[in-house]
Symmetry: C2
Amino acid sequence: MIKRRNILTVIALLLAVFITTNVFGSSGEAAEGHDFAKTFLWIAIILIAAKLSSLVEKYGQPAVLGELVIGVILGNLVLLGFHGLEPIKADAIIAFLAELGVVILLFQIGLESNMKEMSKVGFKAGIVAVLGVIVPFVLGTWVVGPWLLPGLTFNAYLFLGATLTATSVGITARVFKDLNKLKTKEAQIVLGAAVIDDVLGLIILAVVSAIVTAGSVSAGTIGLIFGKAVLFLVGSIVVGQLTAPGISRIFAKINAGVGMKFTLAICFGLLFAYFASVIGLAPIVGAFAAGLVLDAVHFKYFKDPKIVADIKKHFKEHHAEENGVSEILHKHSERHVEEIVEPIGLFLVPIFFVMTGFAVDLTTLFNLKVLLVALGITIVAILGKLVVGLVAGKVNKWVVGWGMVPRGEVGLIFATIGKGLGVVDDSVFSVIVIVVILTTLIPPVVLNLLLRKETKEQHL
Amino acid sequence: MIKRRNILTVIALLLAVFITTNVFGSSGEAAEGHDFAKTFLWIAIILIAAKLSSLVEKYGQPAVLGELVIGVILGNLVLLGFHGLEPIKADAIIAFLAELGVVILLFQIGLESNMKEMSKVGFKAGIVAVLGVIVPFVLGTWVVGPWLLPGLTFNAYLFLGATLTATSVGITARVFKDLNKLKTKEAQIVLGAAVIDDVLGLIILAVVSAIVTAGSVSAGTIGLIFGKAVLFLVGSIVVGQLTAPGISRIFAKINAGVGMKFTLAICFGLLFAYFASVIGLAPIVGAFAAGLVLDAVHFKYFKDPKIVADIKKHFKEHHAEENGVSEILHKHSERHVEEIVEPIGLFLVPIFFVMTGFAVDLTTLFNLKVLLVALGITIVAILGKLVVGLVAGKVNKWVVGWGMVPRGEVGLIFATIGKGLGVVDDSVFSVIVIVVILTTLIPPVVLNLLLRKETKEQHL
């Protein structure tokens, strides 16, 4: 039970941090490295806020929802006249750490996923992805765009349609992870579909951009983009599978400690993320592929010497037989990659979700006309993804459908490019921002309900 | 044994990474978030290089030496006509991660240190620090400066003297850590002295800057700076000790998992680093104080539920008695703060040391006259710290003396400020850079020899 006194203390602490920020912020005594030190403060505030928000777990919600909501609150304190946290929005280092956070998250999720299980649902994931791209694109471009936003150019509708296609898998993946549902068939389908979805989104973005700038696009260009993306995904998985054991063996000879194991794993993830971005894919797709490739067996050359020594010493001192207890000891003697990477995730992943909430500008919701249009398009955006659940086969169709709903930052990237090309005007941009806000904040709540209901039914 | 074949494979791998960097770097196809992705690549290269360099451990050297040397090599590849890694030097995010890395390192070292042990050597550490500041300052300003660099203003000598005072504790601390010597009396004295040294350095920098700009400095200003620094150090330790248990208790009620424990610890370190920098101290001093304050007992409310469940299940199934084995299990059931923070250190600390090496510009060594002057001043810089070993009492005086030798980035900060004030000209700056290089690279080698010799003698 959480006592009221404790909640009050926490609020007082939070207030104290805010006051300190404000006082020190205005003192302006810039020491050497002061800018970096300020970023230390931002990280601490973001992480503490994220952990306070995990209170939502006590009310049955996934932690990620708390992080998003606390982010929205912190990012909009300016509406209450508090400007102390505004510099966070312009802090490029925080933005980087957030990006690194979602890369680490997808890497972790790749590590927890299994290539065999993934390939079993490969075909279904493909259908889910293709349909989940086509339906919102058609609805956005030819139906809801002209209907709710009359008088714009066809190119504007094209961009709106394109914006509605791209699933942001980070939020769904976090919900599955929070609720310990990553191993379910639904999770595998959504994760697989999200990877394919990203490739399709890349193609659509290229095609739409080419139509807007050059008036047309050649089949060769589309083929080239598609070919590069497929080559990267297939190539990275094949090359990764073939080289990982050898690389692991060589590096283990230099040093078989936990540090080497950690470094190899994390660098694998970072390099794949980089290569994905070179091809034009989202870095998270590369990180996910890297996690999928890495397998416990690749690290068989690594054992934590500290714990192994502890165990050996004990058995020697007590002349003990190797019995059931030793099994547990052995299990813990080898620190799994997942376990070593976990603290990096604890450090960086909340930064991504709090900053996703932080980027939500609540003032966009204040314009009633824009809000109503956005609500209409949001409904279409949700329906356009929910229908894909119908083709997902013998699984919980609602979970797959809602799992594909979040648009997040991918939609915003599309909208920003459209704005840069002069196709997306300010009001359409605001509409897209609201659609992204709603498709970001609603799915965690709905997925939580669906998944918990499912668990309950299984237990009956 | 490392086979030649394996070494060749590693070299081939390194070459492959370089070629890839170059090819992809020149393709210039900037996707969304490409800059961040490039930083992912830099991190991967730095970490892999750092781990390859841990080969030096096979030859009895501390890992930090390998990281520094590989950094020097990577940072000077431009001399061989390879420019692919030059962007790393201008990457503000890498610079931040390096700074965060040394903050985490000093936080870890604070965690491993014990307040009681530290206060036992407090008086000796104070004498070591004061003498270690006065001797190099006097030698630099009145003896070696006018002698080796004749014709400069008195203010230039003042700055040279000031530059020679400040110990960079990061390198020494890493050597002690690498060789598992953090608990020794010598390590405690050096760490304590480094903190006091930083306060004294802060005062000297303020005084020298005031003399250069205003011609004089008031006793009140000095008193104020000194008072603020002492107040921070004493205050943070007292406040930290008093509030940590309460904060820990409250947050454990929200969530008693490993994530909360980790977040609390890391935020404690980051906040102290920030507050130190607000006062004008180095962030690492704050991080060290934070680590010193935090104690295992503050986290008694946290237990890793996964491992605890494992253990309970086992004992239930086997109806086993709690015997000697259970002690080990219990020991591992509570993941210590040190252990959870370790992967963050594995991730970030090598970035600091590789980047410290990276910043070494070998071309400064090519000017024979500058080099000779720098060698002379380096000898004085080393002697000025070695004499403090004489007052360190019944310990290995050489270890304490050499432990205080590294100047690292603190000296460079002084030199940069002097350059900004127009007191330090280009040749003096080059001299200081070389002094920093030599006082950075020599101590790990010497300390390694001294500490290993000591260990051997104890075993005889």
